[in-house]
Amino acid sequence: MPFDDAQEILLLRSQINTLEQLLQVHEATALQQALRLEKTIERLQDKTAEVEELNRELENRVLQRTSELQAAVQELETFCYSVSHDLRAPLRTLDGFSQALLEDYGETLDADGRMFLDRIRKNSQHLAQLIDSLLQLSRLNRLEMKTQAVDLSQMVAAVISDLKQAQPRPEMAVHIEPGIQAEGDSSLLQNVLMNLLENSWKFTAKTEHPTVEFGLQKNGSEPCCFVRDNGAGFDMRFEGKLFGAFQRLHRPGEFEGTGIGLATVQRIIRRHRGRIWAQAAVNEGATFYFTLPGLRQTAMEGRA
C-alpha cells in the first residue's frame, strides 16, 4: 500500500504540474488578450474622441454655413428693399417731368416732340412694372407657405369672374370642371391661376371663338390639372424659354406683358413640389398642365 500511495502521490504531483503549466499558459494567453483588449479600448477611445472632434467641427461648420446663409438672405432682402425704393424714385422723376413738359410746353412741341415724351413716359412706366414684377418674384421665396385644402375649381371661377369684370369678353366660352382640390398655399395658388388665366385672356384676344377650360386629367398614376385655351399658342421649339424670367415668346406690341408671369407660376408650383409643363402650337392654343400635392376631384352630386 505505501508503495501504491507513493506512486499515487507522484502521479498526482505530475498531474498538478501539468495543470500548473496549463494554467500558466492560459494565464499568459489571458494576459496577452487583456493587453490586446486594453489596446483596443484605447484605440476605440481615441477614435471616439476623433469622432467627437469631427462632430464638433461639423456642427461648427453647419452653424457657420447657416449664419452665412442667413446673412445672404438678409442681404437679398435689403437689396430687394432698396430696389423697391431707390430704383423707382428716378422713374417717378422721369415720368413726372415728361408729363410736366407735355402739360406746360406741349403746345410749343410738334407731334413728334410730344410722341418722344410719350415714349419716355411709357418706358418709365414699363420699367417700373418690371421692377415690381421682379420684386414679386423674389417675395415668393421669402413668404412662408400656409398649406391647407384649396378648391381650385372655385378659385378658377372667382378669378374668371374678376377677369370678366376687369376686361369684359362676352364671347369667351368658359368651362370649369367642378370639385378639383389640392393641398397648398391658397394665396400662392391663386397667383398661379390668375397668371395662367390672364394669359389665356390675353392670348385669345385675336381669336374668333375664344374658349378657356380648367379640368383634371388622370394620365398614368399621377393626376394633373390643366388650363387650356385656343388662343395664339406658341411654337414648341421655344418651350425651354417659356418659364424663364423676362423671356417672352411674342414681340412687344403684339401682346402686353413683362415676361415674369410664367416664371412666377413655375416657382410657386415648384415650392409646392409639383411640376408644370405646356403643350401648344402656333395659333392653336396652349395648355398648361401642373401637378400639386393632394390633387383630386371630389364627387359633386347635384352640381353641374
Binding site: 425704393h85 422713374l91 417717378r92 417700373a128
Partner: protein
C-alpha cells in the same frame, strides 16, 4: 397747412406741382429729413417756440438722419403730436413697411405711383380727404374747453 417730409427735391417739386394742379391751395412746408421734420413738429432746435401744426403730414419712409418710421414713433410718443394726422407717402410697398407704419400709428399709407397722372389722382383724393372731409383731432393745447362746450 401741409407738411411734406421728402428728401428728394425732384419728388418734392412733383408733389407740390400735383397739389397745385389739383387746386389744393393750402400752404406747403417741406422738411428734407426726419430730424428736421421732428424739429418742426415738436418745436425744437431751429424751430424752438414756433412748432408747425399742419392739417396733415405727408411722410416719406426712407429719409436721411431719422427714417420715417422713427419719425412716426417719436411723434406718437409726444403728447402734442400724438393725434396728428400722418399719411405715409412712399415708393415702397414692402409688407414690412406697411405693417410698421400702421403699428406706429400712421393714419394712412399711400404708395407713390410712377405714373404721374395716377399720382395726380392720388393727390386729389388725398387732398380732398385729409384737407376737406376729414375732421382733425382738436389741438390738445388750446381747444380742450371749446371742444367740450361745443359737444
Amino acid at each position: 397747412m401741409i407738411l411734406l417730409v421728402e428728401d428728394n427735391p425732384d419728388h418734392e417739386a412733383l408733389t407740390i406741382r400735383a397739389l397745385k394742379k389739383n387746386n389744393i391751395v393750402n400752404e406747403v412746408q417741406v422738411a428734407r429729413d426726419g430730424a428736421e421734420a421732428l424739429e418742426m413738429l415738436m418745436g425744437t432746435g431751429r424751430f424752438e417756440a414756433k412748432a408747425v401744426r399742419p392739417s396733415v403730414v405727408l411722410l416719406d419712409l426712407k429719409l436721411p438722419k431719422v427714417d420715417g418710421i422713427d419719425v412716426l414713433r417719436q411723434l406718437r410718443n409726444h403728447e402734442p403730436t400724438r393725434l396728428l394726422p400722418v399719411v405715409v407717402l412712399t415708393s415702397s410697398d414692402e409688407e414690412r413697411d406697411v405693417l410698421e407704419s400702421y403699428q406706429y400709428g400712421a393714419n394712412s399709407y399711400i404708395r407713390k405711383p410712377v405714373d404721374f397722372l395716377q399720382f395726380m389722382e392720388s393727390t386729389k383724393q388725398l387732398g380732398l380727404y385729409w384737407l376737406v372731409l376729414n375732421q382733425s383731432p382738436p389741438d390738445p393745447v388750446v381747444t380742450d374747453d371749446k371742444s367740450l362746450a361745443s359737444s
